[in-house]
Every structure is written in C-alpha cells, then in structure tokens.
C-alpha cells in the first residue's frame, strides 16, 4: 500500500529528513497499528516525528493525540505477550495515560537495565502528584538501585518533581542519603543535588550535610563543584569569617586533582565579598597556571575570573601580568579581549597606549558583549588616569563610528559622557564626537540623551553657536521624539546666550510648523517663554524642569480630573521626585541583558505614599513630603528588631516602626511604640500592629503634630518604648497560650533633624536657579569647623547634615585645592525652594561661609540656626 511507497530510503548526500511533510509522516504512523509490528520501520517513523518536533514543527492537539494513541498501541505490542487487545475505543486521554502509565511502570521494574532508566524518566515526565503516590514505592527502590543509570534517572527525575510535589519527594530523603554514598560518580552528584534541594531551607541540615561530605570526601568532581557552591552560599549567608572550616574546605579544593573542581573553588573564593588580598593569593595563583593551559575553555575561564579580581583588587592580579601579556594575541578573541581589559586595570599608565593599539587591531572581530567590556574598562581607566583622556576619547570616537548594537553604542556614549563630566578640558572634543555621532544615529534613546546633554553643556562652552547646526539638523531629519528633544535643547541655547537668542527664535518659529503635536507644543511654549526675556522664567521653565515625581503627578492629575473643582491644579500638592541614589557600578563583567522592557520603576517613596494612604488616620495629612532612610532602634542581634522610617508631611510626621520578633516562643500583640518628645512636638495618635508572630515583620505607626507656633523648631529627640502584650507559645506548632501579659522594651532614642524637613532636588543649572530665587531673603554667615581636617570631609558632613542635593558636581573636591564652593539645592517642607552656597577654605581647620536663599524667610533662618 501507499505507506510502503512512502517509506523513505536515505539518498546519498541528501538529508533524508529534508522534505518531510508533517501530514505524510502522521499518515505513515498508521503503520503502528499493523500486526505484526515491524520494529525497524516503526523506529524510522518515530525518528521522523522527533525530527519534525525538533525543527520546531507544531503538532495540533488532534494530530498529537492521534499519534499518541497509535504509539500507545505500539507500546502495548512491545510486551512480549503481545496482546493487541485494545482494538477499539481509547476515548479519553485519562484512560490513555493510564495505559502508558501501566506499561512504563512495567518497564521501569523490568529486568532489562538499559531500559529502566529511560522508563523512569519518561514516567516522571507524565506523572502528576496523585499518580506519583502510586509509584512512590518503585521510586524509592529505584533511587537505591544498584544499577547507576537507574539510580541516577530516579534521582534526577525526583529533582524535577520537587517543584511540583515537594511533600512526596521529601519522604525519599533517606533513600537519597543512601545513594549519596554510592561509588558511582554521577549517582553521588545527583543524590547530593537532590538532598540539597530538599534541605536548602533548613540551614542546620545543610551545615550537617556539608560537614559530613567534606569530611568523608567524594569521588565525583561534579559533586565537589556542587559542594563548593553550597559551602560558599552558606558562608555568605552566615557571614562566616574566613577562618571557618567551610572556607578551609573551599581552599583545600584548590589542590584537587581535577581542573573543574580547582576552577570552581578559585572562582568561589574570588566571588566572596570582603576577601583580603592574602586570601585571594592561592586562588589567583591557580588561575595564573590555567592561563597557560592548552585548553581554550580553561584559559577563558581563568582570564575571565582574573578580570573580576582585577576590578576589586588590581594589585592581586599584578603578579599575572606576564601571563596575561601572552594571552593578548590569543586566537580566541574573547580571551584576548579579557586579557587586555584585565591588563588595563592592573597595568601602569605607560602601558595604556600599547594595549589600546593592540585592542584596536581586532576590535571589529569580537562580539558586542566583549566590546562593551572593553568600553567599560576604558571608562574605569579614565577615572584612574585622567591625563589619558585624549587617547581614550580618540579610541572611543573610532568605536562609535564602527558597526554595533544598541548596548554597545550606549556603553560608548555613557563612557564619553562620564569623561566629559570628569574632565572639563575634554568637554569640547567629547561634545564634537557626540555631535558627529547623532548625525547618523538610529537609536532614538541615544539621540535624545545626547541632545539633552548638548542642551545642558553646549550653551556654557566658549563657542555655543557651533552646536546649533547639529541640533537643528535633527529637527529637520529625525523622528518625533528626537525632534522634540532637539527643540528643548535649542531653547536652552536661546535662554543662556543673548546673542544667539534672535537666531534661536527664528528656528523656533520654524519648529512651530512641525507635523507633530509634541514638537509644535514645545516650540510654541519655549518661543513664548524666551520672548519674555526674563531670567527667572528661563530658569524655572527652561533650565530646571519639573521636580515632581512623575507617577505622583500622574496620580494627582487623575485625582483632579475625577473631582471637578474651581480651583486650578496645585503643583505643590504633588509629591517631589526623590533623586535616585546612583550606586557605583561594581559589576563591569558582561551580564545577561534582560529582555524585559524597562518600566518606569516606582520609587520607594511612591510605595510608602500608597501604604500610608491606605490607613484612614493618615488620609487627611496631604501628600507625603519625604521619607527618611530606615534608622535602627535596636542592636542587630536582639530579641526584637525595630527600625524606624520617618515620614514628613506638611504639618505632621508619621513614624513607621518596622518590628520583627525573633523569639519563636512568643507571639506579640497590640504592639505600639510610645514616644516622649523633648520639644513642643505632640503625639496625637498611635496605630498598633495587631499581631507580631515569630519572624514575620509588622509595622506600627505614631502620628506627631509639628509645632505650628514655632516654625524654627525643626529638631527634636524622642525617647521610645515598645509596649505590647506577650503570649507565650509552643515553638514547634506556634500555638499561643490563652493568657498573655503586658510587657515593654526600651528602644534607642530617635532624632528628628533639619534634614528630615528638606527634600533633595537636583537643579541642573544651579546659577539660573540661584538668580530665580533672588536675594530677597538672602542671609550669610561664617562658621569655623575646627574639628574637620579636609575639604572632602567638610563637604560630606554638610551634605549629610542638611540632607540637600549637591549640584553642578560640586560634591567632588578637586585634588590639591585649598578652597571649594559647594552648591546645594532642596525644597523645605511646605514647598519652599531653598538653595545653599557654601564657600569652604582650608587653613588650620575649615572655614565655611554659608549663603542661604529661599522664597521664605523662616526657612533661611532655620537653616542658618541649625548649621550654627
């Protein structure tokens, strides 16, 4: 019949599977129903089906079910008894899977060993929790089976099922334990993996397990690697010192005879936080040996790990410089790149030029990931050797011209921007390169970012006019988002430079006829602002944009539209944006780029705002003005751990106490923190945490009214006592006694300072903001800071004391200077801008002249009073 004709004999040189048609194969699969079964032919058809699946062919539900039925029959035939009894209706898949289940169970307990491992794995794939219990007995037997493939299959399948049926698999822990002492290296590895997964939430059990295996020793290198990972995780969690036996174990693995284990141990040590150079040394020396291995993978692993060491401890890697030098011509470009970037971190200033030349010879051959690594290494280098910035800038501009993906270009642009910010003398070259880049840039995000930078920096260069052409070209040629950014940048030039203003106005005029709404709106708006020719307007609407939180603004506007009112919308009712705390990037190694689109992350404050608004007592307080960082009110290792977050509102403060009960034999109820103020602050309400079970954090709140009559009383000390009802409970079941008793616990004092009343605001153009506020309420005073020895220290102290945002990068004191000016900006509670200019001079101590400006006189007084 036709099935036989379709039976495909491989033709020499061609792919026998090349032109497979799904429908034809399924047609062929009917052969499964024939008697007697022809194994060779069935096998071939099955292979075709898997091949199709592998190519990504999708089988519809009906098709799959049909093939599935047919196979089930084939399966049945496979029993030597060969009853082809099931002829008729295999209707529901339940019956169907029951049959497969039955056959597989037979295979799994059968005599043929080669056959049992796969049967177990297949069975566990199709098993659910209820069916699992039916085969539990077989699984337990299989785990301790003397045939390694059976035992391994059972262990790995159990591991897969932990996610689904933890409670069932947990009961097999004794069998797994037994398997762990197997002689077979894979069984040992799989047993260890399963045991760890079952016990990972029980630190004590993990510790015991580690002790046992590290003492008895293992045969499997895979199992050793796993042990090292478990040990280093435990070390990390328990913050165990490096004198711990776990560390000794990891270090001892550096002398293992298998390279895989040695490398795993070295890598574990390198990744430990707070490793000293001495502890790193043995790990670094094995990595150094690996650098000259004939195996590319080992060289790669070694140099990649050394690259990581070099980020934190460049000096520890210096010893390997010679070995790394040999790798810079490695035929594997990844290895060469890593070697060079490592050398850039460890080498001296004099070697920079040579290394850069070497790397530019093959930069086009390496993947984007590594190009990013190179750029980041350059960026780090620029910070280390600022004098080399011209070499770097040249190199970067060449890279910018090459082909490359978004991540790569972004890394280059970020690097150039950071060089510009660090080295004022490189500003003009840097801006010129960026201008050239946006002439032909397909990435909207980068183009807008650069235009924004041009708007910020360009007007303050000696020759602002030369940037206008680049910016205006964007208005003519680009997409809407870029055109809009270009219009904003243009406006800044017009606002800053009077002689450019007429030309800018002409260009604006043209932008007002743009086809896009946003571009037209911006142009019209800027046109009107610029025509007023008022410095204050320019500062408020062109240089320093909105300082409110965007999600907060969205919410307030939405609220406003819901409740129609005669009053205009008040910008001051919107919570301010908290300046993001930019953490220094330590991870410069290439990391997996997340594919999720970046969402506008809600700030911490937005989350607090929402939580507090849910409490009825706090609803009338108005928008949340500021939330402080948490303050610890207890030592770390006490019975109860309490920390406080201070939330400031226009006339009130809310203290949020996050409490954790670390006693497993107590349940706390009705927890409040009673507060005794030292000043005229008035506690008006306590909101208790209803219940605080063991290790589940809960929050209670205190609401305090700020003194109205004395606006200068900004600081206050509260003595705090936690009061609660204790109910003793059984540590095992958590069942509390019926009766309880009142108790209290004294906490540390809580301070409210001037910083709690000021929100940080970044003014991109401090000078403009300074003029905008004006000198109506300006006050000036001079202080001597006798106890401070350096300018850096003085700057740090002032910033943390006032809690204001340093502007114009004035928080960085240039080296070898004995005077400095610090600019700080903030908003005082109630919505008054406040700006501080502090002139510092270093003589025998630091002398500080503070000038404060604000739109409100009392604010100026408060600041000066608190400084003094």
């Amino acid at each position: 019949n036709c099935i036989c004709l379709q039976y495909n004999v491989p033709v020499a040189g061609s792919n026998p599977f090349q032109h497979l048609e799904k429908s034809a194969v399924l047609q062929e699969a009917r052969i499964f129903n024939e008697t007697p079964i022809n194994p060779r032919r069935c096998l071939h058809i099955l292979t075709k089906i898997i091949y199709l699946l592998n190519q990504g062919e999708h089988f519809g539900t009906t098709e799959a079910t049909e093939a599935f039925f047919a196979m089930t029959r084939l399966f049945q035939s496979n029993d030597v008894s060969c009853h082809l009894l099931i002829k008729s209706v295999l209707t529901v898949s339940l019956l169907n899977s029951f049959m497969v289940f039955y056959s597989l169970t037979k295979d799994m307990t059968g005599k043929e060993d080669v056959y049992r491992g796969p049967a177990i794995r297949a069975l566990c794939r199709i098993t659910d929790t209820t069916m699992l219990q039916a085969i539990e007995r077989y699984m337990k037997q299989a785990i301790v089976d003397k045939v390694p493939s059976v035992s391994s299959s059972a262990l790995v399948s159990s591991l897969h099922m932990v996610k689904m049926s933890y409670d069932v698999v947990k009961r097999w822990v004794n069998e797994a334990q037994e398997a762990a002492s197997s002689d077979n290296i894979m069984v040992q590895y799989h047993a260890l993996g399963l045991l760890y997964h079952l016990r990972k939430n029980d630190r004590l059990a993990v510790t015991k397990m580690l002790n046992k295996f590290t003492k008895s020793g293992l045969k499997s290198p895979f199992a050793y690697c796993m042990l090292i990972r478990i040990a280093s995780k435990l070390l990390d969690e328990t913050e165990g010192g490096h004198d711990s036996p776990l560390f000794d174990f990891i270090e001892s693995c550096l002398r293992n005879k298998n390279e895989m284990v040695v490398y795993e141990a070295a890598s574990a040590i390198v990744h430990m936080p707070n490793c000293t150079a001495r502890e790193l040394a043995p790990a670094v020396s094995v990595l150094q040996l690996f650098c000259s291995s004939p195996k590319a993978a080992l060289r790669y692993a070694a140099v990649r790990t050394l690259n990581k060491v070099a980020m934190k401890h460049p000096s520890a890697v210096t010893a390997c410089n010679l070995d790394l030098e040999n790798l810079i011509t490695d035929s594997n470009r990844s290895i060469a790149t890593l070697a060079i970037t490592t050398l850039l971190k460890t080498g001296s200033e004099s070697s920079v030029d040579r290394l850069m030349k070497q790397i530019s010879s093959f930069v086009s051959e390496i993947s984007d990931e590594f190009k990013v690594v190179v750029v980041q290494a350059i960026s780090a280098l620029c910070q280390k050797y600022p004098r080399k910035h011209s070499v770097m800038m040249n190199f970067l501009s060449n890279m910018l011209r090459d082909d490359g993906g978004f991540e790569y270009k972004r890394a280059i642009v970020d690097c150039i921007i950071s060089i510009i910010e660090e080295n004022p003398e490189s500003k003009e070259t840097g801006l010129a390169h960026l201008c050239e880049f946006i002439e032909d840039c397909e990435h909207t995000v980068l183009a807008t970012k650069i235009l924004h930078l041009l708007g910020k920096e360009g007007p303050r260069t000696p020759q602002p006019s030369k940037y206008i052409r680049f910016i205006f070209n964007r208005v003519v040629l680009e997409s809407e988002a870029v055109r809009a950014a270009a219009v904003s940048a243009l406006a800044k030039f017009g606002a800053q430079n009077d002689d450019l203003l007429p030309s800018v106005l002409v260009l604006m005029q043209r932008c007002m006829m743009d086809s896009d709404d946003e571009v037209r709106d911006r142009a019209t708006f800027y046109m009107n602002v610029l025509q007023q020719k008022q410095k204050a307007l320019n500062a408020a609407y062109i240089f320093n944009g909105l300082s409110v939180s965007i999600p907060g603004l969205e919410k307030s506007l939405h609220q406003y539209t819901l409740e129609p009112s005669e009053k205009p919308f008040d910008m001051k009712s919107v919570p301010l944006a908290t300046t993001p705390i930019t953490e220094p990037k330590t991870e410069i190694a290439p990391v997996a780029t997340s594919k999720l689109p970046e969402k506008l992350a809600r700030s911490r404050q937005d989350i607090y705002q929402e939580q507090l608004a849910a409490i009825p007592e706090f609803q009338s307080l108005g928008p949340l003005f500021k939330s402080s960082e948490p303050v610890q009110l207890t030592e770390a290792e006490t019975e109860y751990v309490v920390r406080c977050v201070k939330h400031t509102f226009a006339r009130h403060m809310v203290f949020q106490f996050d409490c954790t009960n670390t006693l497993n034999d107590q349940l706390l109820q009705k927890v409040v923190v009673q507060m005794e103020p030292s000043e005229a602050y008035e506690v008006i309400h306590y909101i208790p945490a209803p219940s605080l079970p063991y290790s589940q954090p809960g929050s209670c709140y205190s609401l305090v009214r700020l003194p109205d009559d004395d606006p200068t009383a900004v600081s206050c000390t509260f003595s705090c006592t936690m009061k609660y009802l204790v109910r003793d409970c059984d540590p095992n079941t958590g069942e509390p006694d019926d009766d309880g008793y009142d108790d209290e616990y004294v906490l540390e004092d809580l301070e409210v300072t001037v910083a709690d009343h000021i929100q940080k605001i970044l003014k991109p153009n401090f000078g403009a903001a300074w003029d905008e506020v004006g000198d109506e309420f300006e006050k000036e005073e001079t202080f001597a800071l006798a106890s401070v020895r350096t300018l850096d220290e003085a700057v740090g102290n002032i910033i943390s004391f006032l809690g204001m945002q340093p502007c114009e990068r004035s928080d960085k004191v240039p080296e070898n200077k004995n005077s400095h000016v610090l600019f700080l900006a903030g908003v005082f509670r109630g919505g008054h801008d406040v700006l501080v200019r502090a002139r510092l001079a270093l003589a025998d101590g630091v002398t500080m002249q503070v000038t404060v400006r604000s739109s409100e006189e009392t604010v100026v007084d408060v600041i000066l009073a608190s400084v003094g």
Binding site: I50, Y51, N78, V100, P118, A119, F222, A301, R333, V591
Partner: protein
Amino acid sequence: MEPSLYTVKAVLILDNDGDRLYAKYYDDTYPTVKEQKAFEKNIFNKTHRTDSEIALLEGLTVVYKSNIDLFFYVIGSSHENELMLMAVLNCLFDSLSQMLRKNVERRALLENMEGLFLAVDEIVDGGVILESDPQQVVHRVALRGDDVPLTEQTVTQVLQSAKEQIKWSLLR
C-alpha cells in the same frame, strides 16, 4: 548564585549552513521557535569561522566544537563553570564519534538520528548533566556497530523520547 544541578540551557547541532539538525532547549531563555532560530543564527555567525572553543553570546556561555560539516554547541549561563559545559560537549562528541565509528559528519549523523536523540537524552535530562562518560552513554544507547539487530528495546526508547516530546508539544 543558587547552587543547583541545572547546568545546561541548550544543546545544539547545526550543519555548515547554520541550519538546525538538532536543538534541545532546557529552559525558557528562548521560548519560541522564532527566538531560538534567531539565536542559532547569531551563534553560527559568530563561531563558524573561528575554531576557538568558547564564546560569550547574548549573555550566555557557549562552548562549541566543529567537525567536517557539523557544529556542536552546549550553552549555559554566564555564571556556569565553563569546564562543566565542556564536559558535556566532549561527552556528546565522543559518544557520537563512537556510535558513528569516527565518521562524525552530517550524512552519517542523519542516518543515525535516533541514536543522536537517545544519546542526548542520556547525557542531559531537563538541563541536569545525567552522564559524562561516553562509554556509558554508548552502552545505554546500545547502537554500537551496524549488525546489532534492532531490538524492541530501541523502539521503546525512541518511542519514549517521541512520546515525551509530543506530550510537551501538546501542553504548549
């Protein structure tokens, strides 16, 4: 990094045009066929000209090996021990080399696809390294030599493999 046995993200075999002969992905880093094929294309472009064994691509560590007209790849996280991935790659290659009697090229492989399917299933299960010794793998696949008669067992093994995959395609 959480200690785990899940080591391998994917095993790929491509021909010298970069077309897929075999591909098995063990997690959902590339959930759709389209993304998988794009990844394979990228991998092939970056590796087929150089014989350098290891690379970092799309944030993943890729170890690879080529022979005549075949390209073998084992892919893992960039935090994974590179030597473990190498162990998988070597085991796969050596097992096939024995099964195909050193004839590791496209045509021979296509004629023994069922052996390949079974071998990979014996080496990696759901991302966990199941076996790293090629002798063991070849023994379990039991396809050595050409005159070994096809036993019903082989049928069952392939069958199980097929069934499992069908089952997953059903669930998708």
